[in-house]
């Protein structure tokens, strides 16, 4: 019956979508979708058009005769570096008719060797990168007197100390692979050998260092991640978040019930083939309904159990939900007493089936006894019956009842001329499903008892 109500609800919801759902689907989802697309586009732009350039070209300028890099500067970006040094000819010196070609030399050497060569001279140092385009140059101290170079001195390009040396007219370029962090580049402007110390003193030296970056920062990946995340969010807000929370919960509950039911059915089916009683172990304990069903299936054979299973699906489903007792939805065929005696003619049970049922009920009788010891509601029932009459009147006879109404014989016993519900010994008494007629009779009796009680009390009071 719940199925039907669910269906009704769903249909009613589909008919008019809630405001929540419209907001989610109509506004939030497009926003997320748009953001996701923007992110992906930005990511693609960063990977292609806005990709950081792998070429680094940094320059520095100095006025002194000597220019040296600090240890570690050569391999700042990459181990391979191309160094270019050029002499700047300032405009003023072009006044002379001859434009002197000032030689310039560059050498790869160790820091201490460069220091030794330039001791007593003005040296500008390159200590690092100011930005990707400019080198940081520390200009030489303007010490007026520089040491005079001895006569026995060797020229720059002839010195034994350099690992690599190159000279050129006005500019020189050298490719270097740095193996040692101690390696530096030393640049000498002008030839000092000939005692010509004034040549090139007015022009500056530019040193240019070119690297190729191996690892470029990847700015597109965060955008791709963000885009993927936003796309997932858009999807979620269009589907899951757009639903009513209550419906989500109910759907979860339904899912759980279905899974449970399926669990039981498979186990039950297997159990009735392989081992009797194995299906029973799989089911949940604690409710009479389940145990009753298990008992039904255990000895009755595969077909029987299967049939009875198919005829009572709704009662199993309500295991986790609060028990709704609908007197109208009682499954008459599942009750062992009724099944024994095919009173209701429309059930159309055959003789063989009734015999089978008799057998099953014998079995259930065994189980009932064992269950009765543990049934808490049993005592309640007993006390009620005891209150009504004494034990002598109670008979648990099966056959031999001279009442034409066999059904009532089995269900009810005659106590003091009244028809009383038999103590069947199981704890079905907690919540039993009875027919409307029985209910009316019961209520009628109850009303009668009240009257009798009142009469008795009245009599007693009068006495």
């Amino acid at each position: 019956m719940e199925h039907e109500t669910d269906g009704n609800e769903r249909e009613s919801l589909r008919a008019k979508p809630s405001r929540h759902s419209t907001i989610m689907r109509g506004i939030v989802t497009p926003i997320f979708g748009l953001l996701a697309v923007t992110c992906i586009v930005l990511g693609v732009m960063n990977a292609t058009v806005w990709k950081p350039s792998p070429h680094v070209d940094a320059r520095g300028r100095a006025d002194s005769t000597y220019l040296v890099t600090d240890p570690g500067v050569l391999s700042l970006v990459n181990k391979r570096v191309t160094a270019r040094a050029a002499v700047e000819t300032s405009g003023a010196s072009a006044a002379g008719s001859e434009t002197k070609k000032i030689p310039i030399c560059m050498a790869l050497t160790t820091a201490q060797d460069a220091r030794g060569w330039t001791s007593g001279q003005n040296v500008s140092r390159i200590s690092g990168l100011d930005s990707w385009q400019s080198l940081h140059v520390t200009q030489a101290g303007s010490s007026g007197k520089t040491n005079q170079v001895k006569d026995g001195a060797v020229s720059f390009d002839k010195s034994d100390m350099w690992q690599q040396v190159k000279c050129g007219k006005t500019s020189v370029s050298m490719e270097v692979k740095v193996e040692n962090p101690n390696q530096v580049i030393l640049v000498e402007k002008g030839s000092v050998q000939n005692g010509d110390t004034t040549s090139g003193s007015k022009s500056g030296v530019t040193l240019e260092m070119l690297w190729e970056r191996d690892q470029l920062p990847d700015f597109s990946m965060p955008f791709y991640f963000g885009g993927a995340l936003l796309a997932v969010l858009a999807l979620l807000s269009a589907t899951v978040f757009a639903m009513e929370p209550s419906r989500r919960r109910k759907r979860n509950a339904n899912k759980e019930e279905n899974s449970q039911e399926i669990q039981v059915s498979v186990a039950q089916a297997l159990g009735s083939i392989v081992l009797p009683g194995i299906g029973r172990k799989v089911t949940k304990r604690g409710s009479g309904r389940y145990r009753r069903r298990a008992r039904d299936y255990s000895g009755s054979g595969f077909d029987n159990g299967h049939k009875e299973l198919s005829e009572e699906p709704s009662s199993m489903k309500n295991a986790n939900q609060p028990r709704v007792i609908d007197p109208q939805s009682r499954n008459v065929l599942a009750e062992p007493e009724v099944a024994r005696h095919p009173v209701e003619p429309d059930t159309g049970k055959t003789l063989s089936e009734s015999v089978g049922d008799e057998y099953s009920s014998q079995q259930t009788g065994m189980f009932r006894d064992s269950d009765s010891s543990s049934a808490p509601g049993h005592s309640g029932h007993m006390t009620y019956a005891a209150a009504r009459g004494d034990d002598s009147a109670r008979t648990m006879g099966r056959a031999g009842s001279d009442s034409p109404d066999r059904q009532t014989d089995e269900l009810y016993e005659r106590v003091d001329g009244q028809s009383v519900l038999k103590d069947t010994g199981d704890d079905r008494a907690e919540t039993s499903v009875i027919s409307m007629d029985d209910m009316r009779d019961y209520l009628a009796r109850f009303a009668n008892e009240e009257e009798e009680l009142q009469e008795e009390e009245g009599e007693e009071e009068e006495r």
Partner: protein, 341 residues
Amino acid sequence: MKLSMQILTKLLAAFVSAGLMVSLGGCEGQVPKVQKSSSNSSSSSIGTPNLTTGQEAAIRKEIGQVLDKANESKDPAGLGDRVTGPQLQIRTSELEIAKVTGNLDPKTTIPSGLAQTVIPTNPGWPRSVFSITTTTQDQQSKRLLVLTQESARENYKLWGVTRLFQGAQLPKFPVPSIGSQMGSPDDKGLKTTPVEAVRHYADLLQNPDSSQYAKEFASDDFRTSMANLTQTVQKGIEANKGTQNQTFTPQTDQIRVMHSSEGGDLVVAQINSVWTRQAGEGRESSPASDAEKALFGNAKATSAMKVTYVNVIALYIPSSTSQEQIHAVGAEREPVKVEAI
């Protein structure tokens, strides 16, 4: 309402993160900085060798070219580029002798192959490099070459060459890629300081029988050959009732020291000696060897002859805790001046 709040916070987070990302985009990234501490500490504690093996080979090649050129022309004029110190004197003398005799003495051969090189890491000047060549083609012993660079603005020059004694045990040195340490003439912690060891050895050479330092030194080929030579000449001089006298003077400023990895020092030093031979009975004193004869030339012989030699000794001085004696591993001896007095 709760749900809309959740949505709002999500949107806000998305916008903020997008804003951050946009600000990053278009940048080149951070400019790298020089790691100063690592480079300074490494250079000061360990130090890099002053030369690579390639550079050392190039230097030896250049020296070899200068020597070959001088050998061919028998002209010592161009030697000054790449030869200095005692070797300059020795080589000049050898060339003059060769000019007279027509051939260079076989002992002047310096092989171009290398057995071992010892390159220091000391950053200052003057610097030395000890290189040991292979044996010569005619199976002469290995040569120990000492190359020096006097100042940063000068090049390496061949300072000293000693022929190693046969079977001489050289101490161990670190490989040239790691580099070794130069020593100084007054190193402590050894049997004697290097300059003292050279003085004692000179004394021992001068007074082979009565020197007080005889116990400090193990016997070596040089002293043995010197003793033999003196004995031979003594016989000849006694025959004509002459006298002979040798004085050995260590040149304490011409000394090069290298620390070995065994704790001792390898020392190469110049010891000048003057051999005065006086012939008795009015005889002439003549040159004692072909070399002396070549140097003397056609000068007029008198009764006395004074020959000046340049000796270069290579000594290994063990550490003070060692049980070994100081022993010479190589030597070179060359007359540089012969004059009749």
